[in-house]
Symmetry: C2
Subunit: 249 residues, 2 copies
DNA sequence: CGACTCTTTGATCCTGATCAACACCGGTGG
DNA sequence: CCACCGGTGTTGATCAGGATCAAAGAGTCG
């Protein structure tokens, strides 16, 4: 599942002009077109499919010129900042929207397993935004969300809470793609999960084992089957009490 | 040093109309007038001195109407949010600037030890801001700083680093008031410091003890004497490496 | 002086990191 | 076909930081 770290982004098989016709498997979950919203269909005209990338290949790296936005067409991706994983990207999710004025990417984005991307050229998207307020607003909203997610820290609560919260989040996001399914693929390494959640890979394994022992999920080679979703969601016993810090006064 | 938690803000001895003549001991460190900047002298005409508050008395609490800004005239104060200390306020420092549109205070502010405040009525300050761009800009800058400080988390590094960083910060801020002085008063409880730094009071005591054992400071009943300031500042061995999380890929 | 709170200090416990050993798996080359 | 190999996942042992609990000083204020 892993590759030697590629020193530079490997030139993938670009498919310019392969505009989207809305027939891809995740069309209804596509964030770029908001699941096929008629107001946003113009976006389909500018998208290019790019791939395949294999595990570890970098799509962009810090300093590389920002010439487009991306979404996952199939597979998975991660964004890393200073060697720390700050986001995972599932099929349909749009990312690499940097601040509007940004000329270069600020973080690395790399494939997890064999992955195809959709690329939305920045110039074409800018033109679309100028012509279509809906697209502009939609993109701005997604950009704000990305900014929020990249800033969010996952250092709250203990290791078990963080792992189960992470799985719950993944499961919720997958629902948009696959609908109801107990299976949640985890193609990223335990190390990656640990980096994202701020714990060691060994602890990730142990917390998964604890959730398995509790009958909440079963562990497969390529992911997990969630059998008791209700137990994954962080249970907040009494409202307004966060035991992440010591109490005072 | 401590009081039973007062359920409601105790009405202090208000001194309306006691405009500032710049003769107070911390005039040169007064943030409201930027140390007596001629462009900001108008502020002195609207300030009122209020006090004395004794230890634990609340100046404002969440939900109380926002009718003024405050600074410490003498003593010290703390801002608490959900029972956590999020800021300490030293003489001369302006605070309780909430967002411009805020109608009510969002956090508690209470006195630490016997404390006098300067109160800057909101309406009068608004008028001043309308008449004087310097005052408006100055207030906006201070408001941004307050927002940043209240959001900042002190959960980076280990306990010793956080305590010494805290003391270093206090010492730097006191320099504006007292000039060069080895003494740094700590009128707040160890519990308060621990709440602010995200650790237990016992750990605060232990870390202080460790700094004392290292010859960096001596401990007094009401504070500390810093004898080796250079050792207080967080030493970053190699730039760009933060061992606060595990590393990846 | 006495009650009270705060600080200090010791003992213990818990969480999660770290390290090491081992199983597993896919790929590679004989 | 099979031995080998590097990377990954799992699991156990150990360790360190800091929380928690308890008990003993030390002020402090009435």
């Amino acid at each position: 599942m892993s590759h030697a770290l590629s020193a530079a982004p490997r030139p993938p098989a670009w498919r310019p002009g392969s505009a989207c016709n809305g027939s891809c498997r995740h069309a209804s979950a596509c964030e770029a077109t908001r699941g096929g919203d008629p107001a946003l269909l113009g976006v389909r005209g500018v998208v290019e499919r790019v791939g395949p990338f294999s595990d570890g290949d970098r799509l962009v790296q810090p300093g590389s010129p920002h010439r487009g936005y991306f979404s996952v067409l199939s597979g998975m991706a991660k964004t890393t900042d200073a060697n720390r994983v700050v986001a995972f990207h599932l099929p349909g999710e749009l990312f690499a929207l940097e601040p509007t004025r940004a000329q270069v990417h600020e973080r690395s984005i790399s494939a997890i397993g064999k992955t195809w991307f959709c690329r939305f050229p920045r110039d074409a998207m800018s033109d679309l935004c100028g012509d279509n307020d809906d697209i502009a607003r939609h993109l701005a909203a997604l950009r704000r969300r990305e900014h929020r997610l990249l800033k969010a820290s996952h250092d709250d609560g203990d290791a078990l809470t963080r792992v189960s919260g992470f799985l719950f989040d993944l499961r919720c996001r997958r629902r948009h793609i696959e609908g109801e399914s107990a299976f949640v693929p985890l193609p990223m390494s335990r190390e990656d999960i640990g980096s994202y959640l701020g714990m060691s890979a060994a602890t990730v394994t142990r917390m998964l084992g604890r959730l398995r022992a509790a009958g909440i999920l079963t562990i497969r080679a390529d992911g997990i089957d969630v059998s008791d979703e209700a137990s994954l969601v962080p249970r907040q016993d009494s409202p307004g009490s966060k035991p992440s810090r010591s109490f005072i006064s």
